[in-house]
């Protein structure tokens, strides 16, 4: 589903954020990406969603070779990916409902279906009662969960999350991870960048460790 083949990323300015990175995540797999601050975790996720283009090597996502993907087709790629951002990226002038509805509006869904799907997604993250609230009135953890609801509302085959538990207390973190697990059980390919080692090492999934843009270690998935 996600295949990095000697991918490198050199940012303008010359900084080499990724260096000959190769790994593969199969369809329906769930994996963690870890590493110290600045190791390149966010950069990996950016390459997958074509927020940045790899400067060398190949990245293949959902069967598409991203280097060959034309500008016009990028929206198509992104609609097949749900992203949870490190800093939420909610729109503060819209209600929680409207924030979560965005991916559906973009693909032109009908009013009734939008309502049903958004409420289902909010229900899953336990925020159905905050539907009409504005993000500014939510605590940091609640905002994070709105972001998760938005990422899954259109049922993308791939789910990427950049430190989704950074702003959550330990209990909530576990709950959120549980949520991702369940999405994975329904066939979604999940890749999560996180440095909450305590939490992720306890889970049975594969863990990719980055250091200065290189894969330095990998813990295979534990069999349950």
């Amino acid at each position: 589903m996600i295949h990095f083949d000697h991918a490198g990323k050199r940012y303008p300015g010359g900084f080499e954020a990724l260096n000959g990175l190769s790994f593969e995540i199969a369809q329906g797999e769930m994996a963690f990406l870890t590493g110290h601050s600045g190791a390149g975790k966010s950069t990996v996720l950016k390459l997958i969603a074509l927020i940045e283009r790899a400067s060398s090597g190949q990245v293949i996502v959902n069967g598409l070779n991203l280097a060959a993907l034309r500008e016009r087709r990028i929206p198509h790629l992104r609609r097949s990916i749900g992203m949870v951002f490190q800093n939420h990226r909610l729109l503060y002038d819209r209600t929680v409902f409207d924030n979560v509805a965005l991916p559906l509006i973009i693909s032109g869904h009908g009013h009734g279906e939008i309502g049903r799907r958004v409420r289902a997604a909010l229900d899953k993250v336990g925020l159905l009662n905050k539907e009409r609230a504005y993000p500014i009135t939510l605590s940091g953890g609640e905002q994070q969960r709105v972001g998760i609801a938005r990422a899954v509302v259109h049922k993308p085959p791939i789910l990427l999350a950049d430190e989704p538990t950074g702003n959550l207390d330990p209990d909530l973190s576990r709950e959120v991870m549980e949520l991702f697990r369940r999405f994975n059980q329904f066939g979604v390919t999940v890749l999560i960048a996180s440095h909450d080692l305590d939490l992720i090492t306890r889970l049975p999934y594969r863990i990719l460790s980055l250091k200065a843009g290189r894969l330095t270690g990998e813990r295979a998935a534990l069999t349950a």
């Binding site: 929206p75 198509h76 992104r78 965005l102 991916p103 973009i106 693909s107 032109g108 289902a120 049922k155």
Partner: protein, 327 residues
Amino acid sequence: MKRHRTPAPPEAPRRGAERRAGVNRFSAWLRNHLRVFFNTLGQLYRAPLHALLTVAVIGIALALPAALYVLLQNTQRLADHWEGTAQISLFLKPSVSDDEAEKLAARVRGLAGIKQARVLSRAQALEEFRALSGLDQALAALGENPLPALLIVTPASEEPADAEAVLETLAALPEVETAELDLGWLKRLRALLDLMRRAVWLLGALLCSAVLLIMGNTLRLAIQNRHEEIELMRLIGATDTFLRRPFLYFGLMYGLLGALFALILLGLTLGLLAAPAKTLAALYNSSFEINGLGLNASLGLLALGALLGLAGAWLAVSRQLKQIQPG
């Protein structure tokens, strides 16, 4: 969706459903347009002061060339009223009586290349002279009427060359003392109207570009203002078309409302100017009244406003949106 009503388990991606939703492309398209249309209306409604400001600025910019156009039309009408077209004045010999003049007029009407001919008797000539020159008392001082009778002839063609030919024919008539083609007066009027037309075009061009600029600028800032939103939208897969649409509606709507504002402004201004214009006309013993823009030109102004709004939006949006990319 019934099978998903059980609360907890997350829904797996059903690609079939995705595709099904994508089948009816047209209804999605229409839905998007309607949504954007009502969103734009809603935005106007929620920020009425802001909307009014922008609309007022565009309205003023559109009202100005429209006002000058109205002025031009009215002057033209005034000019037509005074002079009609090229005229030939035949000054008849003092010996020609008013009766003989009428007969001559009938004969002249029969000639080729003549549209109209009318007699201006000596008394009428004096009257008109008085009205035009404004020197009533000076003429009164003359005592006896020094003016000859005239025949005012309108040539069928307005081409100076044709008119000259007619002039020559008429000048050869025995009853005629002098024949004069009123090109002087005509030239002046034409020069004046030319000047005005040039001014209207100049101003019109200037102010239409001003509307484009205002629209572009307003939208440029509006887009920058929604920078984050656009970035996010791109991240979750919005296409350029989708992102552009609300701004185009915005431009269209503002242009249209601006034109409407211009029409209202023009109406008010003409109302304010009607009284002094009437006073002025009364001084010239004229019943002249200012005419408004008229239905067609009004509709034209609305169309122009909408077009300029849309064009300004397009220019700003295409350039701006490209620059906003998630990073």
